[in-house]
Structure formats: C-alpha cells, structure tokens
C-alpha cells in the first residue's frame, strides 16, 4: 500500500495536471468563454490522492467541483475543455454540464447538481455491487454544504445499516458559497456525525496527497472486506470564488487565503520529492512544461471542436 518514488512522481504529475487545468479553466471562464465554472484550484490533492490506486471497476460520483476526478481517472483534458465549452466532441455533447458526464468503462457515474443528492445515488451503486456480488467499491464525493441535507442523512444511514462497500468523502473547504461552516452545521463538526450512523470517521489534511491516499486505501480495504462505509473529512480550501458567475468574495479574508496557499499540495510534494532525492528540480520543471503543453493542446482541441447540431438536444430523452 505504501507509495514508491515512482508512485510519488506519478502523483506529482497528476496534481500538476489538475492544477494547470484548473488555472486555464478559471481564466477562460472569467474571459467569458463559457457560462460558469466552479473552480477546484487548491483542492487537487483530493481527486489525485483518492483516485490513485482505484480499480477501473470502482465507481466515483462527483459534484460540480470535481473535474479533477475525471482528469485523474483518464478522461482526456481536451474532452473536458470541450465539455466546458459545451461543444459536441465530449461525452455530454453540450447537452448538460461536463461534471454530469458518465464513463462506465472508467467507473465514472453521472451525478446530479443537487447538493447532497449525489449521496443516495452513490449508495445505490454500492447497493448494486452487493446485489451483484462484485467487489467494486464506490467513492461518493460531496462538499461541506451538503452535510445538512436530508439526502446526506438518508444516504449514509442506508449505506451504514446495510454495510455497503462505499466511502463517503467530504471535501470540507469551510464555505458553502457564502455560508461559513459554523453558521450552517450544528455541532460545529462534520466528522462527529459519523458516530450518529455507527460509522468510523477520519479527518485528513486535504492538502497532503499522501495522507489522502493512505486514508482512502484504508477505507477502501474496509469496504471491500464487507465491513461497511467510512466517512472521511478532508480539510482543504478553494483558491477561487464559489463560481465565476459574479460571486462576490466577502466572507473569506485574504489572510485566510494566503495561509492556505502556503499549504499548497503541489509545492509540498515537490519539496518531498527533491529532499528525498527522488527527483531533481529540473526534472519536475520539465514535467510542468509537458503538462502545460498538454493543457494548451486541450484548449485548442476544445476551441476548434464543433458545436452539436441543434437536433442533438432532442435525442436520448428516452431509450
């Protein structure tokens, strides 16, 4: 389970891919290239760390801020940009937001936008694994904004009472749009709610990709062994506003943002790799150059891609 130098370099590459993608997506959204973008910059360690080591048959269900999961599980960056541009050459063909995309062969389940409604859906995928007797595990991603929804309560209780093979992953970035955690979440702690369902819970530094990876592997092993779900709360912070649709930043302070930027997951892993002698600065910079080209190529692909023909809107309402 422990990570070799090769694994750490692979993780570094994936963190960087997500970061450069997020930077570019945010820039394009602010430039008005597409309607609205919920940036995940600063939270890269979670998609990278959680999905590293998952089998393709394991399922993930994401929310509006989880494009990093799509990238790290193998969806080409060009297709994701095409999705943001709502172009034809991507799995959603411009019919619905790219974070709703589905790729059964990659284990990517289409979710819903309703904050928290994804949790019963993911629980259902885990229920299917139990019914069909497979050893697949499901990861349900959601934010701190959804922990007060009825769906959170009912979904996790159902997973717990039937000991389903699922890991409930809360990305706690302390703000649901404008609501700070303590103003919305009674008891002041998300993880303390795990005991209400009889589940083990763990708080993890969401900016330490190795810690995220190890916590996930423990929970996935528990789930695969039939011991039921785990609730993992990752403490992290988003560096960009809630979304680019004119959300004014007032609740969050610059000092708070700078403090979290100092804990950047990429800089942290970079130092670890260099200090342990697994890689040189030049080598890592070369990876960065490679990644930038890959992302730029993705944007070009999306810019050039055609819009879907209008009739596409009428297709597949029913099968």
């Amino acid at each position: 389970m422990s990570l070799s130098p090769r694994d750490l370099k692979q993780l570094f590459r994936r963190l960087l891919l997500i970061r450069r993608f997020e930077e570019e997506a945010f820039r394009l959204a602010v430039a008005g290239k597409f309607a609205n973008y919920h940036g995940g910059m600063g939270q890269e360690a979670i998609p990278a760390g959680v999905c590293y080591g998952l089998k393709p048959t394991d399922n993930t269900m994401i929310t509006h801020r989880g494009l990093g999961v799509l990238l790290t599980r193998g969806v080409p960056v060009g297709e994701i940009f095409a999705g943001l541009y709502a172009k034809a050459s991507c799995p959603t063909r411009g019919r619905h937001p790219i974070f709703h995309m589905a790729a059964p062969d990659l284990g990517i389940l289409a979710g819903t936008t309703m904050v928290g409604s994804v949790i019963p859906l993911a629980t259902g995928a885990a229920l299917a694994a139990r019914i069909q007797g497979t050893s697949d595990v499901t990861i349900s991603f959601f934010g701190d904004g959804s922990v007060n929804r009825g769906d959170f309560h009912e979904g996790i209780n159902l997973g717990a009472v039937r000991k389903l093979p699922i890991v409930y992953f809360c990305e706690n970035n302390f703000y649901a749009k404008s609501m700070p955690l303590e103003a919305s979440t009674a008891g002041g702690s998300i993880i303390s709610r795990a005991q209400g369902y009889g589940l083990p819970g763990e708080v993890v530094d969401g900016n330490d990709v190795v810690a995220v990876y190890e916590a996930t592997q423990r929970a996935v092993a528990r789930a695969r062994a039939g011991e039921g779900p785990t609730l993992i709360e990752c403490l992290t912070y988003r560096w960009t506003p809630h979304s680019t649709a004119g959300d004014r930043e007032f609740a969050r302070t610059d000092e708070e943002l700078e403090a979290w930027k100092a804990k950047c997951p990429i800089l942290r892993l970079r130092q670890q790799l260099i200090e342990a002698g697994h890689a040189s600065a030049e080598e890592l910079d070369a990876v960065d150059v490679e990644i930038r080209h890959e992302v730029a190529a993705g944007v070009e692909f999306a810019e050039a891609a055609p819009y879907a023909a209008p009739e596409v809107a009428l297709e597949n309402v029913y099968l």
Binding site: N148, R149, G150, D151, F152, H153, E154, N157, A160, V161, A183, S184, T185, A186, G187, G188, S192, R193, Q195, G196, Y197, G198, L199
Partner: protein
C-alpha cells in the same frame, strides 16, 4: 381539562392524581375508539397509542398554556392530554361538523390552535420542520412559548429529522424534540433501519444535549421534559429526549402484527405505565380503592358523553367539503 400553569418542579398530591386520571382517560378513549373503529363507525386509518400514555401525559403536564405542540399520525393521546375538548375530538373522528376541524381532518390531521396544538401529520417526519418553524415564529414575534415536537423512531432516519435538528441547533431555537421510541416503524424493528442503537446517539452530531428515559414512567417523563422546556424558555436552545416505550396494540387498527411475538408484547404489558403509576400512588397512600373507582366512573362518563355527542351530532352537510380551501382576505 385545560393545560394548568406549572411552577415548581415538584407536583402536589392533587396534580399526581390528575396524571393518573389523565392516563386512564387516554386509555379509555383509545379502547372505545378501537371498538367503534372495528364496528365501522369511525372511518379511516386509525393509529392508537395504547401503552404510550405516560409520554403524552408527562409531556403535557410540563407545558404551559402558551406553549405549542406538533404531533404525528399517532396523535389522539397528545391531543387529549394537551387539553382538547373530548366531544369535539370524538366528533372529528366520526367526521361530523361539530368536530374540532369540521369533520375534514380526522385522526391524522387533528389540530386546535387555541390550545397550541398546531398539527398532527400523515407524513412520517413531516411535523419536525413545522415545530422548528413554530419556535422560529416565537423569536420573530418576540413571545415566550416553547414548542414541543413529537416524532417516532421511524422518523429518525428521515431527512426531515436531520435537517430540523441541525437548523434548531444552529439557530438555538426553543424547541424540545420528544422521540416516542416504540421500537418499530410499522413492521421493521429499529435495528433493521439504523446501525446505532438509540435515537439519542445522534444528538451529539448536532451539538444538542440528549437524554434517554423510561417512557412508561410518567414522573420521569414529566421531570425531564420540564427541565428541557424551562431551559428552552430561558434561551438554552433545543433538547432531544428519547422516551423508550411500546405500543401494545397494532400499528393501526386492523394490523396483523405479524412482525412481533406475543412474548414481546406480553413482556411490555408488564411495564404498563398506568399500572406502574398506580403502585406509586398506593405507596403514597393517595389512591384508595374507592377513589380509583370514582375516577373510573368519571372517565367512563366522560368517554360515553363524548361518544354519544359524536354519534348524535347532526350529519355533515357535504357542501362543507368545498369550503376553506383558501382563506378569505388578501387582495
């Protein structure tokens, strides 16, 4: 029997006897209703509270006239214990115009705003958000009532439970959540519906203090609820109280009860709240045989009078069905 003002925690002998009489009255009504329901005189789906009388009476004794109460589909005992007019109550079950809701509501939608009984509910968990709203209304309107919210163990896995406790706690609202844990949601025992043993185990998730009490001990119910209500009125925020109790009759009149054993029912019948409290009163030399039979006569008369009133109330004018869909007033 209007709700009386309670000051000190300790109860006078007269108040203790009143608790006993109230519980006996609730039992008598439920038995009469069951009989008339089986005879087909009372229409609809009826959920009785036989065995859970101590919770209703203990709670009502701890409330003040201005306080509010929200109930569930098993509302008869809460409604009567809170001080509803028995005649209007029975007439409502009979679907008569003289019913407290004009014959339109029936067993699961009883309501009487004059005694602060806001609503029963046909939807599991449907009442929890309403109670939070009533407590919120108290703060907005600057008054001093506390809201008492009944719910069953079946509701504690429902989204409404989670959202309501979270909201009440994060806003520090004057509401007391009273769970009547009778161990079953229709046929499924609580252990098949959740992994934690007690409803109260979930209170820490919301930073709400919780207590587990014997729902069949009317004094324990009264004292615990009284403390929680006084704390809420003083701005101390919500409390969750889990009263372990048991319904010794079916989920509804006509329930096959195939989901539980006779032994289990018999065992709980030995913990009958009325019999238990009778022993307490006997030890205190408060309840002589004569007084007991006097109480029983009074209750029988009350039940008969209420039932006769309902039976002989004039038939309902069907046209009333088309009234009050909307309130008058407004532009």
């Amino acid at each position: 029997m209007p709700a009386r003002k309670r000051t000190s925690l300790a109860l006078s002998n007269e108040q203790l006897l009143q608790l006993y009489e109230d519980m006996s009255m609730l039992r008598a009504f439920d038995e009469k209703i069951s009989e008339r329901c089986i005879r087909g005189e009372i229409p609809g789906l009826i959920h009785l509270g036989v065995g859970e009388e101590a919770v209703a009476v203990g709670v009502s004794a701890a409330l003040q006239p201005q306080d509010k109460m929200v109930s569930t589909h098993r509302a008869h005992s809460h409604f009567l214990a809170r001080g509803a007019d028995p005649k209007a109550f029975m007439a409502e079950l009979y679907g008569k115009a003289t019913g407290c809701c004009g014959g339109k509501a029936g067993s699961m939608h009883l309501a009487d705003l004059d005694i602060g009984f806001l609503a029963a509910n046909g939807v599991v968990g449907g009442g929890l958000p309403l109670a939070v709203g009533a407590a919120l209304g108290q703060r907005i309107l600057g008054s001093d009532w506390v809201t008492l919210c009944f719910f069953g163990d079946g509701a504690n896995n429902n989204g409404a439970f989670h959202e309501s406790l979270n909201l009440a706690a994060v806003w520090d609202l004057p509401v007391v959540f009273l769970c009547e844990n009778n161990g079953y949601g229709i046929s499924q025992s609580i252990h098949k519906q959740q992994r934690v043993a007690n409803v109260a185990d979930r209170a820490p998730s919301y930073g709400i203090p919780a207590e587990i009490i014997d729902g069949n001990d009317v004094l324990e119910v009264y004292e615990t609820v009284r403390r929680a209500v006084d704390k809420a009125r003083a701005g101390g925020g919500p409390t969750l109280i889990e009263a372990k109790t048991y319904r010794t009759t079916g989920h509804y009149v006509g329930d096959s009860e195939s989901y539980r054993s006779e032994e289990e029912v018999a065992e709980w019948q030995t913990k009958d709240p009325i019999v238990k409290f009778e022993k307490v009163l006997r030890r205190k030399k408060l309840l002589s045989k004569a007084l007991k039979s006097e109480i029983e006569e009074r209750i029988t008369a009350l039940v008969e009078e209420a039932t006769d009133f309902a039976v002989h109330s004039p038939a309902l004018d069907p046209a009333a069905a088309l009234t009050h869909v909307y309130c008058e007033g407004g532009v």
